[in-house]
Amino acid sequence: MAARSNLPRSGFGQRVARDFRLVYFFGTVTQETNKSAPEPGWLQIVLIGRRPKYTLIRILVLVSVVALTTKFVLLPIRVEGISMEPTYRNHKIDCVNRLAYLLHQPMRGDVVAIRFSEPDSLATPKELLMKRIIGLPGENVAFHEGRVYINGHLLDEPYLKSTCDWEHAPILCGPGQYYVVGDNRTMPFEYHVQGRADRDRIIGKVLL
């Protein structure tokens, strides 16, 4: 309405032309200019489509799907810290597949997300640990001269890019416990967060 009141008064033809442009731009048709079926303007088509009602439904469906996916299927994460370097760099963005262990149990070599405290009901944990599984339930995990021994057998770890001198007596994983450790073992053993994680704390497998 404000735009119309500011139209030039110099001539009828000019006013109609301005009106038409205005109408065409916003995609609304007024009685003065056109009484035929409404034709959406390009801006409306670009912003909300030819049928706003359907566009709204599409947006709602899309938002719901994205929200549900990012909460229950693919949890977006940002890596903080250096304990998984060089495999996962600090500040890298990744995703956790929360459905990875629906059909099978976690496997050796999997990089998993482990929750700290128990979140309330359906809430997604905000803080997670990211570690690699090296020991399975019932196995003995030991470190000798920086190498991992599972039940006395040397574990091949091709993902390690640096050596270390970690020494630790065998640790037995109980039922439902997985031994997890980071890929960056350049720091002293006692400074590196590692150990046995209960199965119910493992919320999924890191995707990439």
Partner: protein, 165 residues
Amino acid sequence: MKTAARVALLLGGAALGFWLWIVLFPSPQKLVLKRISSLAATANVNAADGNFTRANKVSSLISYFSTDAEISFDVPGAGARTLTGRDEIREAAAGGYINLASLKVRFEDVVARIGPDKQTAVVTCTANVRANDSQDTGIQELRFQFRKIDGDWLIVRVETVKTLQ
């Protein structure tokens, strides 16, 4: 139409009453969660905070604990330590605030469970701590035990939880 308006008014009144009830008489769980959130806010120290502010923060921090409160820490790389009573906690907090330029504390994934007697509560959460504007954050799972003393929910015990055993 009149009936619909009356029903709407009634529902509105009921909703308002319910909201007022929640605000005026919050559940113990809500009170404990509020307490934890306020504890994190109190523990934060900015680099610009002077000695007077820091001393006030220590006093405020102490008020969250019972006189016989115990804090038991066992953090990888830092060893184990136990603080007993308000005096020890005050001393440790004051020492920490003097040595640290800034401290940012956040409690995430907070879950409060109220005991059947409604006088005790256990809160588990993940503490996210960043000291001296460092890029590295310390993450630690914590368990708080609260007890209602003289109408106030006070912390009687704080302990670190080993996420990995």
